[in-house]
Amino acid sequence: MSFLLEGLIKAIHLLLDMDPETYSAVWTTLQVSSGSMAASLLAGIPLGFFLGYHDFRGKRQVRIVVDTLLALPTVFVGLLVYAFLSRQGPLGSMGLLFTVPGIAIGQTILALPIVVALTATAVEGLDRQLQFTLVSLGADRLQLLTGTLWEARFAILAAALTAYGRVMTEVGISMMVGGNIKWHTRTITTAIALETGKGQFGMGIALGLILLAIAFAVNLSVSFLRKRA
């Protein structure tokens, strides 16, 4: 139990003392998660809109597949991406293994089903009168997309935050694709795994708290989107 308190104190110290190892991991985490979130939202929101908005043959089947992909194990994704990025893999020449963009690719794959599934659900849940309204006011296809998404903004924000939580906390991909290389690809979560493996539970807790603090700051900074109107 004592390591919980120890972790809290340590977290404060790490932050205040500007511990360079910690800051390096924080920076890497921020880079990776921003990259993967940007990519997964950019690709996932339109896909989710399409899936939720349109009726087409086999839609239900597609939904089941997307929902199944919510259960993509991170190590599995890590292995998949590794297979492609490995020097002998088809994309090996790009030199993305053990790099920040490499991890971001893997995390994008992880986040995408969450963004797609929850956006589709959000769009499906909207009043179908909205559609008539937007079209009748003169919206083109893109404006229909943006207008619809804005109406569903609370639910889409929730989708993004859920995906963000997933991306921020995953270890498997960062380990497998990033290699947990100190000063380079060590993220907060791989550092937690490392410290915990070393028995440094207090340090693990401290890093976990730092991660939560970052998530809190991010949530706070997007909370204005929750305002009604």
Binding site: Q88, F98, N180, L194
Partner: protein, 252 residues
């Protein structure tokens, strides 16, 4: 820069002790070569070598290493240092192994059905343990109720052994850290040590540049040369973890 950067795969035990954090900056200082390392299980480290994703390996599983070299995946395997394994268990020693030889101890576990916690992860330590069962003329008690396979790292495995009042095989370095975490009074004590079979040999291997065109063999060779050299060997000998000597250099 990227050209002067070397990638190494190593096992968690070398990394967790802090040895690499001390040694590698010296290497960079001496040679101007930047080195990055990824610490994983021995099996995965070898696999990364086989897949040409790293340039050099630092591992401790001699039979697997030999296989690796024989298969043509690696070249220039050089032993660099060793430490030793110890059998630890609860101070009450319910299986009564204290002072016995390793082989006798293994038979005691079997006879007393004493909880024995194995890493079960194909790591160097795990391979050593399997070797010990075999050397004592026993089967690995895979499905025995008292044989707990954690599939985790050394420290977690020790922790599980402590929670279960069981025995386990560990490298000394991890045990020193473990006892330090418990302010020198850990719940598990060293019961068997010093047996010749408990030696834990570390080696470096260069990934075969004939198979892997991208491998920076020249830098890797420089690294091997450096770590087997006198200065590095000296530093290994001087490395202390919590005041205790941990690794014994033995480069030939």
């Amino acid at each position: 820069s990227a050209a002067d950067s070397l990638t190494m795969a190593t096992t968690t035990s070398t990394d967790n002790t802090g040895l690499l954090d001390e040694l590698m900056p010296e290497f960079t200082k001496d040679t101007g070569i930047d080195i990055k390392w990824t610490a994983t299980g021995t099996g995965k480290a070898l696999k990364l070598g086989e897949n040409c994703d790293v340039d050099v390996l630092m591992v401790h599983a001699p039979p697997a290493e030999k296989k690796f070299v024989d298969a043509g995946f690696g070249v220039n395997r050089r032993e660099i240092m060793y430490n030793d394994f110890v059998l630890i268990g609860p101070p009450g020693d319910p299986a009564g192994i204290s002072g016995k030889t390793v082989a006798e101890a293994m038979m005691q576990f079997e006879k007393k059905k004493a909880v024995f916690v194995s890493r079960g992860d194909n790591s160097g330590t795990n391979k050593k343990e399997i070797g010990l069962w075999k050397a004592a003329g026993l089967e690995v008690p895979d499905r025995a109720e008292w044989y707990v396979q954690t599939g985790q790292g050394m420290l977690s495995t020790i922790r599980i052994a402590a929670e279960r009042d069981g025995y386990t095989l560990t490298d000394r370095g991890t045990y020193i850290k473990y006892s330090a975490d418990h302010k020198g009074n850990p719940p598990l004590k060293v019961l068997v040590e010093g047996d010749a079979v408990l030696l834990n040999q570390y080696s470096v291997i260069v990934v075969n540049p004939d198979r892997c065109k991208n491998v920076k063999a020249d830098l890797a060779e420089k690294f091997v040369e450096w770590i087997t050299g006198d200065r590095a060997q000296q530093q290994i000998a001087e490395f202390r973890l919590l005041g205790q000597e941990l690794f014994h250099p033995n480069a030939k």
